[in-house]
Symmetry: C2
Subunit: 325 residues, 2 copies
């Protein structure tokens, strides 16, 4: 079984690939666990640190039609489409956001349709599809009213995934991910980048700024459960989705102050003291438009998983960093 991961050099893409190599199988079109023979990692930068012969690293832009034709073939049975221009970046560069977050998603779906083999497509969407006036706990049937171009582009992608699935062109699943935390590595242009930064950087002995107030609610998932849910979202039977292929995933409802308290419990007050609290109105505007809690009735019933508490998330991050090659 051959699969394609876009954004394959990113945190989630590379981690998904490592987890899939461990598992060795994914469900095929009939839902039967099937050995993985090739995992193509497509990204604008080459995916690193893979020596397994099943891994194929391809470097290029998903906006490039001929490249897409070479990596997405009738033999590709599954696609994890994770590549995106992140929130603050898509807000600053509207046209680039449309090109990658929307047009490339459409091109992938269209190419999959042309291939005629109805591959499974897991599309990573986001809580950024929500905004405006929202109830304290967002129900499954809440209208997405995005207050960012990234959010709007993700909803448009979801609609395509759903309609291409309804028409039988692909077997799609659009999963709205909570903010992934703690992300390893370095800060990125996501408005939510600080959520990882205020934990990761102090743990390294470095300073980090928190651009939002302590009471800001957060809806989080660890990289571990993000990957488990992507795989579960792929393997689950299509019929479980009912009339909509779009799903709010479970997350952990917490706040910036609870996150910092957990950091203090685990790493001491000197780690907390490395956080500065300089507000950034542009980031606050985007982050405050995202909800901090969801009902997730559908995804709970479908067996998706969530973290127990933020202390767990911090400990998991420390263990991951220690295990890093």
């Amino acid at each position: 079984m051959q699969i394609l991961i876009t954004g394959g050099a990113g945190l989630l893409g590379a981690r998904l690939a490592r987890r899939l190599l461990e598992r060795s199988t994914l469900a095929n079109a009939e839902g039967v666990p099937t050995p993985l023979t090739r995992i193509t990692l497509l990204d604008v930068v080459p995916a690193q640190s893979f020596s397994d012969p099943r891994i194929e690293v391809v470097t290029g832009d998903i906006g490039d039609e001929s490249l897409l034709q070479s990596v997405l073939t009738p033999q590709t049975q599954s696609i994890f489409h994770l590549a995106a221009i992140v929130s603050s970046h898509a807000e600053a560069d509207f046209d680039l956001g449309m090109k990658i977050n929307f047009d490339a998603t459409r091109r992938i779906l269209e190419r999959a349709r042309q291939n005629g083999n109805c591959p499974r497509v897991v599309f990573s969407s986001s809580v950024a599809v929500f905004g405006g006036t929202l109830p304290a706990r967002v129900p499954d049937h809440q209208a997405p009213t995005p207050q960012s171009s990234y959010g709007a582009q993700k909803v448009m992608g979801e609609l395509l995934v759903n309609d291409y699935s309804r028409k039988g062109f692909v077997d799609g699943r659009a999963l709205r991910m909570p903010t992934v935390c703690v992300r390893p590595g370095v800060p990125n242009k996501a408005a939510s980048s600080f959520a990882s930064g205020i934990i990761r950087e102090p743990l390294k002995g470095l300073a980090a700024n928190c651009p939002v107030p302590p009471e800001t609610p957060m809806w989080l998932i660890s990289p571990h459960f993000a990957i488990e849910n992507l795989i579960h979202g792929h393997d689950i039977d299509a019929g479980r989705f009912g009339y909509s292929r779009v799903l709010n995933l479970p997350g952990l409802c917490t706040s910036v102050s609870e996150m910092v308290a957990a950091l203090g419990r685990i790493a001491g007050p000197e780690a907390v003291a490395r956080i500065s609290w300089e507000p950034d109105p542009a980031i606050m505007r985007i982050v405050n438009s995202w909800p901090g809690n969801f009902e997730t009735t559908r995804s709970d019933a479908m067996g998706f998983a969530r973290d127990a508490d933020f202390d767990d998330i911090v400990r998991r991050h420390i263990a991951d960093e220690q295990a890093r090659p």
Copy 2:
């Protein structure tokens, strides 16, 4: 003030143009009623029966980029974008639906953005954006989960209108229209075509088939109030929309059996006897996915209007037909 109406030869486009000629003004960017100097009616067939010098009839495809450049200029202060591939047609021809319902909408918004004058854009969306499991009365915050490609393409257009407005590229308003009834003329490829057909044809002494059961709920608006609401939606201050430019318009909640009863009261049992009841599963599937009742809290508060009852709608249709030139 120069304006553009796409779908300008259609029922709503041509009727909107006639009403605007009567009124002579529309709100300009500052909200001040301003004399209309030119109304461009763009459609694939020429708009008929206009002799007013303010009317410019342009025949062509809104998918044609150079045509669009010639009719949508920096002098165009308002756009009513009504052109669409209707529901059953877009379901039968997915690519044509995407091209006209989505790509052309995007091209219009992009051209308006390039023009740099932030025109008002009224986009006619539809209750077809809804589907699946819905509450008996659909609230304003209900997630659109379209069960047709037409519905999916309309939601994608709404998201663009909203985001282009949020970015300040245009001043857009996306209005979800109830099923317009009674439409004059001849049946079209809309799944809802029967709703007008079962009234219009018997009134002409002709047979009509009803492809859905009598208990089917319907959410309707007369052509008269559809036009009044399009104009109100254009003239109202942008600030009234709050965080979303997308609005469920008021409608009349009725059922096919109530519609037929009204026909009987007004035109007698012989009119009702001209209706046959041959089910059409394809039409039933699409029509049954649309809700029959809405709360419309937002649009009611914003002053949009609705019909009093279906007898009124039938009488209004008879009067319109008698007044027809």
